[in-house]
């Protein structure tokens, strides 16, 4: 129903997803933290520790370091995304 959809469903074209999907995503995230019982303070402390240890060996872009707990099919998973600078050039390496 592509053509009719674009004719009658134009209002929705501005919204990439309904608010229900937003609600679901927010819930999934908040429940992961509820389950692991991590407070933002603890997450911040983990982040600092990771920065400190990796910085001994790598030129870590501290401002862009991201850590997250993600819900996956095989359980909850701690994920760190650590951008490193190329030594000497100062250019940033993408993930």
């Amino acid at each position: 129903m592509g053509i009719l959809d674009s004719l009658f469903g134009r209002r929705n074209a501005h919204r990439p997803q309904g608010s229900a999907q937003v609600a679901k995503q927010r819930l999934v995230e908040v429940l992961v933290y509820d389950h692991v019982k991590l407070t933002p303070d603890v997450m911040e402390a983990i982040r600092d520790d990771i920065c400190r240890i990796l910085s001994r060996h790598l030129d870590v872009d501290v401002d862009r370091l991201e850590i997250n707990i993600l819900r996956t099919e095989r359980g909850d998973r701690f994920v760190a995304n650590v951008p490193v600078r190329r030594s000497g050039t100062g250019a940033r390496v993408r993930r």
């Binding site: 129903m1 009658f8 997803q17 608010s19 229900a20 609600a23 927010r26 429940l31």
Partner: protein, 285 residues
């Protein structure tokens, strides 16, 4: 009580974590639906200090004694039982309105449940909101727990918390009722579907109840909507009661009210299948 011989009834607690999701309405209607199916049922209002189950059932003018009077020995158990106006095998033990949740201990609740299960097929306990002492009392004597939630973020989050606490109390995995579903919002993608909610909570679905004006009008009158044969919500509660009796009743398919465009599209052969799917929860059965 009419029946003299002892039965071994089921003690089921209805809880939610968050307030205002429909625990009391659910308790009243499941009780009415089970009683209408010929089972003997007693409803126990465990929300001490915030008595409400009597109002939903229209029995507020008949209260003499309450649950605290029973556990403190000021009356006999049967003196605190109020018989329903419509169904002669449905009884209510009201909460105390002027006491607080510490007025009853978990031990006293357990003893009360043991006594009641010898006289009734079903003992349905209306839990207070929250996760504190009142909730712990409400599940203390339970065999099973039903968690009621609405399809929105905070009530599902609280329901998740309750599921964890019920499991920590070594009770069986609770079953879920998703209440106040608006099929039109689900169709538009602006309300989580029953499927979304059951996927997140990963507990078995016991039933789904549409948001329905008839609940408001029935509650205004003090009549359980489950006794209204024309009400969709009433049918939903009757379905849930049947599932509690072990019957295999398919989940209700909620249809959004049709707009003119949608009717036209469907008449032209477009988009007939989408809406039923979007609202239906976790498979049939």
């Amino acid at each position: 009580m009419e029946q003299q011989q002892e039965v071994n009834g089921r003690v089921i607690t209805i809880t939610s974590g968050k307030g205002g999701v429909g625990k009391t309405t659910t308790t009243a209607n499941l009780g009415a639906a089970l009683a209408a199916r010929g089972r003997s049922v007693v409803l126990l209002d465990a929300d001490i200090g915030l008595r409400n189950l009597d109002i939903v059932l229209g029995l507020e003018n008949r209260i003499v004694y309450d649950i605290v009077d029973v556990v403190e020995g000021r009356c006999r158990l049967r003196q605190a039982m109020i018989r329903d106006k419509r169904l002669n095998n449905l009884y209510l033990i009201p909460a105390a309105q002027t006491r607080d949740k510490e007025a009853v201990s978990p031990q006293q609740m357990r003893a009360l449940c043991e006594e009641l299960r010898r006289q009734f097929d079903f003992i349905l306990i209306d839990s207070p909101a929250g996760i504190e002492q009142g909730f712990r009392n409400a599940i203390a004597g339970a065999d099973e727990v039903i968690v009621v939630t609405n399809p929105e973020v905070s009530s599902v989050r609280d329901a998740d918390r309750i599921v964890g606490l019920v499991e920590a109390a070594e009770l069986p995995v609770p079953r879920l009722i998703v209440n106040r579903i608006d099929p039109e919002l689900v169709r538009r993608g602006d309300m989580m579907s029953v499927e979304d909610v059951t996927e997140i909570l990963s507990i078995p679905l016991l039933g789904l109840v549409p948001d329905d004006e008839s609940i408001i009008t029935a509650t205004n009158r003090g009549e359980p909507v489950a006794l209204d044969p024309l009400s969709r919500a009433g049918q939903a509660f009757r379905n849930i009661a049947a599932r509690l009796l072990g019957e295999d009743v398919p989940f209700m398919v909620l249809e959004a009210p049709d707009g003119a465009w949608r009717r036209l599209l469907r008449a032209l052969g477009f988009g007939g299948s989408r809406q039923g799917q979007a609202v239906r929860g976790g498979g049939a059965g």
